[in-house]
Symmetry: none
Subunit: 228 residues, 4 copies
Amino acid sequence: MDTTVPEEIDGETAPPVAPRSYLREPPTTQRGARTRAALVKAARKVFERDGYLDARLTDITKEAQCAAGSFYTYFANKEEVLAAVLLEAQEDMLHPGMRRVQGTDDPYAVLEASNRAYLEAYRRNAKLMALLEQVAQVEPEFREFRSRRADAFIRRNARGIADLQARGVADREIDPMMASRALSGMVSVMAYNAFALAEPQEEAVDFEELVSTVTRLWANALRFPGHR
Amino acid sequence: MDTTVPEEIDGETAPPVAPRSYLREPPTTQRGARTRAALVKAARKVFERDGYLDARLTDITKEAQCAAGSFYTYFANKEEVLAAVLLEAQEDMLHPGMRRVQGTDDPYAVLEASNRAYLEAYRRNAKLMALLEQVAQVEPEFREFRSRRADAFIRRNARGIADLQARGVADREIDPMMASRALSGMVSVMAYNAFALAEPQEEAVDFEELVSTVTRLWANALRFPGHR
Amino acid sequence: MDTTVPEEIDGETAPPVAPRSYLREPPTTQRGARTRAALVKAARKVFERDGYLDARLTDITKEAQCAAGSFYTYFANKEEVLAAVLLEAQEDMLHPGMRRVQGTDDPYAVLEASNRAYLEAYRRNAKLMALLEQVAQVEPEFREFRSRRADAFIRRNARGIADLQARGVADREIDPMMASRALSGMVSVMAYNAFALAEPQEEAVDFEELVSTVTRLWANALRFPGHR
Amino acid sequence: MDTTVPEEIDGETAPPVAPRSYLREPPTTQRGARTRAALVKAARKVFERDGYLDARLTDITKEAQCAAGSFYTYFANKEEVLAAVLLEAQEDMLHPGMRRVQGTDDPYAVLEASNRAYLEAYRRNAKLMALLEQVAQVEPEFREFRSRRADAFIRRNARGIADLQARGVADREIDPMMASRALSGMVSVMAYNAFALAEPQEEAVDFEELVSTVTRLWANALRFPGHR
DNA sequence: GATGAATGAGTGTTCATTCAT
DNA sequence: TATGAATGAACACTCATTCAT
């Protein structure tokens, strides 16, 4: 489970990168680049299908249509491919585009747009997020990774809350970091339950209802003035 | 990660029990009962120390000071012992005693007491909760178990919210179930991060601050009238 | 190659034992003892046939007629079985019985008996000695083992030389340790070449000639007085 | 371990060459010659550092700064490079220059010079000699190679002994070949222990003491008349 | 000649589960 | 019931060798 929330304000947070050890010399030839890419793609597919623990390296190489040994030209082990998979998805996960509301100053609108962007990104990468949750429970390296990712969101949101407090929009009695932890966490749990945990056959949650509930609770919690 | 919140009101929720298949005939002899109990106790210890996946059955039997084969007299496999372990801890986890505020009608006081009780129970069983999170990621049976446990809390809290709405204390625009999912989730994430995830060396969160933040946000979110 | 020579005199040398790490809990049941013994016997056979490096664990278990996994009940790896094999042969190798000449004082006779006993023991365990040479080249633990074994012989012989010097039988200008190193080494090379290295089809060296040559050179080197 | 001794007399022994199969067409171009030389040099370095078995071909090509595939332009496998390495060192090993004492007839002086030359050559190539010992234990081809090299020395020395017997300097009761085997072996063991086996941190043996001990024992063994 | 990515056979090791005693 | 030795399937990983550029 991670603890995150949309970027409300600016926030040039340092992106949580995969551990150094996971970075290898990139392939020099074009052919190498192709094979590596095929392996990463195959790994994501197999991981999402079978889970991290049940995924066998041979399944990945089979899926990538290359020999078992070729795997080790690019990765030292399962962890490393996973790191590569996450790294590739990271951009889309960390900066859920939300240029839409750039023009407005209405905090509620900004908040809603931010939540929507976050939830959309989560939904887009739902299987990967579920995977990350699983791995974080099993591999300390990825627990760390997940923590850093969550912290990035939390700090960004805390800055947003502090800003709103300064503008007199949010309750000043509240500690921005604690509140951010709680509210960011709230959104991420909802996202996890709605998208990552949901079984295929289940009836999906109404996305818009999700966005509006979460936004309303968040605004209320901070005591946005006299709305609705 | 689970999604729970203290019981605010009544709530004779059906307790989420371990799957039927896990219930065996109890041992007939006294010696048998003793061995079984030793195994369950040992299993909890080993699970909490090594995690579910890394726990070896032989570690458990060694800890329980009995032979490897004896394990199978009482359990069919690792899952079963874990079910037994959880079953044993369930009472304490599901009904965090909170007789204290019985007398009052002040919703805020009730809410706070409820949150405190929940967080205390979580803290008491932190390692077990962490374990449950881990297993839920790996064994569908326990994902189910965890879901049912969370749902029990969510429904209970939803009833509480509906009740407050009826009494005019809570914002009537809000859907009780959705709000309960979000707010119960919020509390459980906070608990997970503070107690289950925390490394031993980390400086602990201030417990009282945790209770009050969570309670204030929850009250605000529901728009409790004119307090503080 | 080891560097050894028969015990000439007394010498209650500390026997070179296998490293601690190689000592495990002995099997408790009789059946366990039987299996373990079968494995050690099989290991010796396979090692002597295929060499240490080419010996596969499965060959050993197959030879011992047990499952692959059973190996690990008694040994952690190939090294450990080998240690067990050597330990078992050690007694015979280190103390080549030579009570025969107890009665005499004639240094030449004692020397000859001693050489004969050493060479006989070497011949008896020729394959094992060849194995030890091989392993010592590859596994530092066994290089160490071999060194200690050689040192035991060298020191014992050095004591013998010093004694003869004191009795005026051996050249006093010679450093006993250096001489022992050289002469013990000389005998062991001869043994290695004659017994360990020899291909089956080769015509065997004449054993008696070997004994007498080695003894005569040794005696000459120490300048035993006026014989032959 | 090899069994050798300095050339005492003439001795146009047939030099033990690497197996025929190892001789390839030399590279035609100059670039080819350079690459090949780089590979042989790199191989010697890697072999001496890691040992034959642990040396990976890619380590060698990396050290030689060429691609993995280029190796096979010049050698068919690991054995072949090793053969090339040994071939290159052979000259220095087989004919340890000893022109110094050419003028004298004193057998003792000749013997000593011969031993000194041998031990110096061994010391110069200690790592390579250790390597040869290792490989000889593992690859029959090189066991053969080592044997031939040792035999060359032994025969040369046997001729020297026979010559001394003819001149009345050495004990005529002794079989020259047997004695040569024993005494040549004695010197080679000493060299192996002192130079090949010695750990870097160990205090080195006193070289002059080594030479004089070995020479004295050798002379005594052959019963050189009335010296010292 | 040189390159370096691709290949894939081969084996040590773990540990849940069984079953003879 | 209790014991603990025996079982064997399952899988990651290495590295010499090939071969398309």
